[in-house]
Amino acid sequence: MKILVAVKRLVDYNVKVRVKSDQTGVDIANVKMSMNPFDEIGVEEAVRQREAGAATEVIVVSCGVTQCQETLRTAMAIGADRAILVESADELQPLAVAKLLTAIIAREKPGLVILGKQAIDDDSNQVGQMVAALSSMPQATFASKLTIANDRAEVTREVDGGLETLSLALPAVVTTDLRLNEARYVTLPNIMKAKKKPLEILKPADLNVDVSPRLKTLKVSEPPSRKAGIKVPDVAALIGKLKNEAKVI
C-alpha cells in the first residue's frame, strides 16, 4: 500500500509575521520558510507506518512555487521515498490544492492520504476534508492515533470535550493533530540520501485542473492591538480592580 502525504511550504512557526504597509498581505520576503508543522507530523506518521510494515511506499506532494522542492527534500530526509511538486507561481487556494491532490491521488491510487489538519499561515483547515469529498473517501480529521489493520484505519480524533475513535474503510484521508507523534530529527546522511531520491515536477495544466482563485483578498490588516495593562502589587489589589474597575467578579 502507498501512503500519500501532502506538505506545504510556509512561514516558519517561530516567525512573527508583519502586515505590509499597503495592506496587500503579510511580508514574507527574507523570512525563514519551513514545512507546515502538522504536515511534518504527517510525513513522520507515514514513514512510521511504512517502517511498521503497514505501507510499502511514502509519496510526498507539494503544490506551490519552485522552492517547495526544498520542503519535499526535507520530507524525503525524514524518510519519504519520492516526491511530486505541482509547480505554480499563482496563489493556490484550498479548493485548488484539493483538486490538484485529487488528480494525483487518481494517478497514484494510495491506500491512505495524510495531510496536516491546517496550515499555520491561512489557518483554513479545509484541504484534507475537501480531498476526501472529491476522492469519495471517508475521513478522520484531527488524528492523535492511527492504526492500520485489515484494510481499515482505526483513528482516534481530538474533538471538543475529548477523544473519538472511528474506523475507516481504506482508501481514506487522515489529517494530523499535534499529538499524533513527534517528528524525528533529520540527520545529515539522510539529507544527503534525500538529494538522490526522485522528485517529479508537474504543472496544474498537466493535471487538467483550473486553479483560479475563488476568494478575493481585499486587504490584510493588523489585528486590533491590546494594550498592556498594569501590574498590581498584591492579591487584594487584584480583587479590588476586578470588582470595582473591571466589574467581572
Binding site: Y13, V127, S167, L178, T217, L218
Partner: protein
C-alpha cells in the same frame, strides 16, 4: 437570500456555538433556517425552533446521524443545499470537520472562521494565528461558511417559534463507522461558552499541582478550566483543555492565565477575552503584554491567597 445553519447538538440540546452561527447567518440577510441532523433529535429540533430569528427547522432523524460522521452529515447538507445561498457552520471540531466536504462537492470556496460580516459576500477572518486579519470576498454564488463563535453574539435561545419540518434522511455512507468516544465528564462550564476561565501553563509544574492550585479558584469563580499547549504537551491535562491557535478559541469576560508565558499561539486563542489577568513569576513574560492586570510572583502562594481573599 437565505441561509441554512447546520446545528451542532447532542440530540437533546443545541451546542452554544450554533447560536453564534445563527447571528452570523442573520447578518447575511434573508431567512435563517436550521438543520438538525441527528438521531432521536426531537429535543434539539425543538430547542432550534425557539431560537430568535429562525424561521424554519429541518429535522433529519436517522441512525446514520447518531455519531455525527462527516460523510453522512455532509451528504445530508448537500441533499438540502439547493435553495440556500449560504450554508453556515459553527467553527468547532464538528463544523470544521464537515463544512469543507460540502464546499468541495459544490465546487465552491469555503470561508473559514469568519469573525465579521462586512457585506453579504465580504467577510473578515484571522490568519497567521490572528496576527493578521484578512478581508475576503467570495466570488461563488453559493457560500459555505464556518463562524468563529467569539466574533458574534449568541442569538437568544428563546423567543422564536419556527415550524419543524421533517426531511428525508440520506442513507449511511458505509465507509466509516464509529468505534468509541472518551469524553471527559465534568460539572464545569464548557470552555468555549464560559464567562470565566482559569487557565494553567507549564509554570504550574505538574498535573497534580494543576488540580491542587487551579481547581479551588475555578470552583470559587464558577469558571471553566483551560490550559496552554505546553501544559497539555507536558501531560498535565487532556488535549480538550487546550486554548490556542490549534486548540479552542475563547473570549470570556475574565481569563485568568496562571503560569502561562504567553506564546503567540496561545495568545491567538484568548486575546479577545474582555479582561485578562496574568499570574506569573517572570515579570518579562509576554503574557503581561496583553494582560489588563498582572501579578508577579509565585503562583503556588498567590492563587491560594486569591481563593482565600475572595472568601
Amino acid at each position: 437570500m437565505s441561509s441554512l445553519v447546520i446545528a451542532e447538538h447532542d440530540n437533546a440540546t443545541l451546542k452554544p456555538a450554533t447560536l453564534n452561527a445563527v447571528t452570523a447567518a442573520a447578518k447575511l440577510g434573508g431567512e435563517v433556517h436550521i438543520l438538525v441532523a441527528g438521531h432521536n433529535a426531537k429535543g434539539a429540533a425543538e430547542a432550534a425552533s425557539h431560537v430568535a430569528g429562525v424561521s424554519k427547522v429541518l429535522l433529519a432523524d436517522a441512525d446514520a446521524f447518531t455519531d455525527g460522521l462527516a460523510e453522512n452529515v455532509a451528504a445530508q447538507v448537500l441533499a438540502l443545499a439547493g435553495p440556500y445561498d449560504n450554508l453556515v457552520f459553527p467553527a468547532t471540531a464538528y463544523g470544521r470537520n464537515i463544512a469543507p466536504r460540502v464546499a468541495a462537492t459544490l465546487d465552491v470556496a469555503q470561508l473559514s472562521d469568519i469573525i465579521s460580516v462586512e457585506s453579504p459576500d465580504t467577510f473578515t477572518r484571522p490568519i497567521y494565528a490572528g496576527n493578521a486579519i484578512a478581508t475576503v470576498q467570495a466570488t461563488d454564488a453559493k457560500k459555505v461558511i464556518t463562524v468563529r463563535a467569539t466574533g458574534f453574539d449568541a442569538a437568544a435561545a428563546s423567543g422564536g417559534s419556527a415550524a419543524i419540518e421533517s426531511v428525508t434522511a440520506i442513507a449511511d455512507s458505509g465507509k466509516s463507522s464509529f468505534v468509541k468516544r472518551e469524553i471527559a465528564k465534568n460539572d464545569r462550564p464548557e470552555l468555549t461558552s464560559a464567562k470565566i476561565i482559569v487557565s494553567g501553563g507549564r509554570g504550574v509544574g505538574s498535573g497534580e499541582n494543576y488540580h491542587k492550585v487551579l481547581e479551588p479558584l475555578a470552583d470559587r469563580l464558577g469558571a471553566a478550566l483551560g490550559a496552554s499547549r505546553a501544559a497539555v504537551d507536558a501531560g498535565f491535562v487532556p488535549n480538550d483543555y487546550q486554548v490556542g491557535q490549534t486548540g479552542k478559541i475563547v473570549a470570556p469576560e475574565l481569563y485568568i492565565a496562571v503560569g502561562i508565558s504567553g506564546a503567540i499561539q496561545h495568545l491567538a486563542g484568548m486575546k479577545d477575552s474582555k479582561v485578562i489577568v496574568a499570574i506569573n513569576k517572570d515579570p518579562e513574560a509576554p503574557i503581561f503584554g496583553v494582560a489588563d492586570y498582572g501579578l508577579v510572583g509565585d503562583l503556588n502562594e498567590l492563587v491560594p491567597d486569591l481563593v482565600k481573599q475572595l472568601g
